[in-house]
């Protein structure tokens, strides 16, 4: 337990310090959201209707872009091999690393949502709904994305290949995240059903992600 806690503490500290780059994700999120009014026009009514979708897409892309930090730096300086050789099961170590990554890179996205909601003319309820769905959904993005990050580090290929592999897996999260926010804002459907499915997706990815990432690390590292 102490090993895992130390791992989490270490990862968060590295992510927040110089060269960690966790907060660049938030900056990217802000940039994507600011780009949207230029693309669709500064029509506030339209923006508030598209708002949840824009925020979700921005968060999805931002969390995708920060993912290659998850294993890459550790692989380069050799600490990933130490983690793989340690007595802590690799699955748990992967889960701990993903949790740290979510705390450093995923949670700031959720915190930034209310500010970005203002830019998109979202009211209180809508902003709250989007923030809540992002809070429930971003762990799923991190934990499924971790599989792609592990593949990228074992194949020495990142970037586009990882995006192509990870994005299809994150489509269900996007669907139910946006559906739940829309339901809370306007929809005739209830908020509970899509939100429960979103939570279920997060829980499933919490189980699948570490095992798949650990499997690809175990078989891929040499």
């Amino acid at each position: 337990m102490t090993a895992l806690a130390a791992l989490i503490r270490r990862d968060i500290r590295i992510a927040l310090r110089v060269g960690g780059g966790a907060l660049i994700g938030v900056l990217f999120f802000l940039t994507v959201v600011v780009l949207m009014p230029f693309a669709v026009g500064p029509d506030l009514a339209l923006l508030s209707r598209l708002g949840p979708a824009i925020l979700w897409l921005g968060a999805l892309l931002a969390s995708l872009l920060t993912l290659d930090r998850l294993f890459m730096a550790d692989h380069e300086d050799g600490s990933l091999d130490l983690i793989a050789m340690s007595r802590t099961p690799l699955e748990l170590a992967c889960a701990a690393k993903a949790l740290a990554h979510w705390l450093a890179a995923g949670l700031p996205l959720v915190v930034a949502t209310p500010v970005l909601g203002l830019l998109l003319n979202l009211d209180m309820v809508a902003t709250g709904a989007v923030a809540l769905t992002l809070l429930a959904g971003t762990p799923a993005l991190t934990f499924t994305g971790m599989i792609g990050a592990a593949l990228a580090v074992t194949l020495h290929r990142g970037g586009l290949l990882m995006a192509v592999l990870v994005l299809p897996l994150s489509i269900p999260v996007l669907i139910f995240g946006v559906a739940a926010s829309q339901a809370a804002i306007a929809g005739p459907l209830s908020f509970g059903a899509p939100f429960s499915i979103l939570c279920a997706l997060s829980l499933v990815s919490l189980v699948i992600g570490p095992f798949a990432a650990a499997a690809s690390l175990k078989h891929g590292l040499d």
């Binding site: 593949l151 074992t154 192509v164 299809p168 078989h219």
Partner: protein
């Protein structure tokens, strides 16, 4: 003769060379029978002649999922038993599966235009099959991105097994959500709702398509083995030249 005996690629090549002509002949015969029966099946009282798209669409859709299932088994073979032919099987199946999925989407779209009034609808069944198609393409990109086949094989195996989660979602999407796509009508509790005049040709076509897949898959596996041999020979030659 067990699965482990086939681990020797030479033995596999010899055996598959003997089996392939018979499989190909059986495929052609069954496809001919199936296509004839489909063409002579009666028109539906509501859908008219367009119902015949079903005989192509449904086997393609079944095969798109079946191939991913085969790839998942092969991936288990790669990761658990390190069977040397398992990754060849997985790699060879991906483009075939992608083709079946594409054909299922295409024929479904052509069928949807007269029946639903639209080529495409973002409902659960169509979306999940589209995701399946994207995952096939992603896998093929992964295979192409890495030079070392065994390294690519293990990565692709992990991804295939994760992607297998999509299969039950596709299968049950029509039951879980209110979709435009009709619910299961052939393989369901309490027997098929399909009339015999349609069911028999459909089943013949399904068997024919499965045989088609097996034939193509075996041929593709043979090609892949030969391709790897050529590759290792070329590398040997190159290293000799360098020395």
């Amino acid at each position: 003769m067990s699965l482990i005996d086939l681990a020797n690629p030479t033995r596999f090549l010899a055996l598959s060379a003997r089996v392939l002509p018979w499989l190909a002949a059986a495929t052609v015969i069954l496809l001919t029978i199936g296509l004839y029966q489909s063409a002579s099946a009666p028109d539906d009282y509501q859908q008219g002649a367009t119902v015949k798209i079903m005989f192509i669409h449904v086997p393609n859709a079944w095969l798109s999922m079946f191939v991913w299932g085969v790839m998942s088994l092969a991936s288990l073979g790669t990761l658990v038993w390190r069977h040397p032919l398992a990754d060849v099987a997985a790699k060879a199946a991906a483009p075939i599966g992608a083709s079946f999925t594409f054909l299922a989407l295409l024929t479904g779209s052509l069928w949807g235009r007269p029946m639903w009034g639209t080529y495409w609808e973002w409902d659960a069944r169509l979306t999940s099959v589209l995701i399946l198609f994207l995952m096939y393409l992603g896998l093929m990109a992964l295979w192409r991105a890495v030079e070392d086949p065994s390294r690519a094989a293990r990565a692709a195996a992990v991804l295939t097994l994760v992607g297998a989660l999509n299969l039950p979602i596709i299968k049950f999407s029509v039951d879980w959500w209110n979709t435009l796509h009709q619910p299961a009508s052939v393989m369901r509790m309490g027997g098929s709702t399909l009339d015999k005049a349609f069911l028999v040709p459909l089943l013949v076509m399904a068997v024919a398509f499965t045989l088609l897949f097996v034939t193509l898959h075996l041929a593709a596996m043979r090609n892949e083995i030969l391709r790897r041999r050529v590759r290792s020979l070329q590398m040997m030659q190159a290293s000799q030249k360098a020395a």
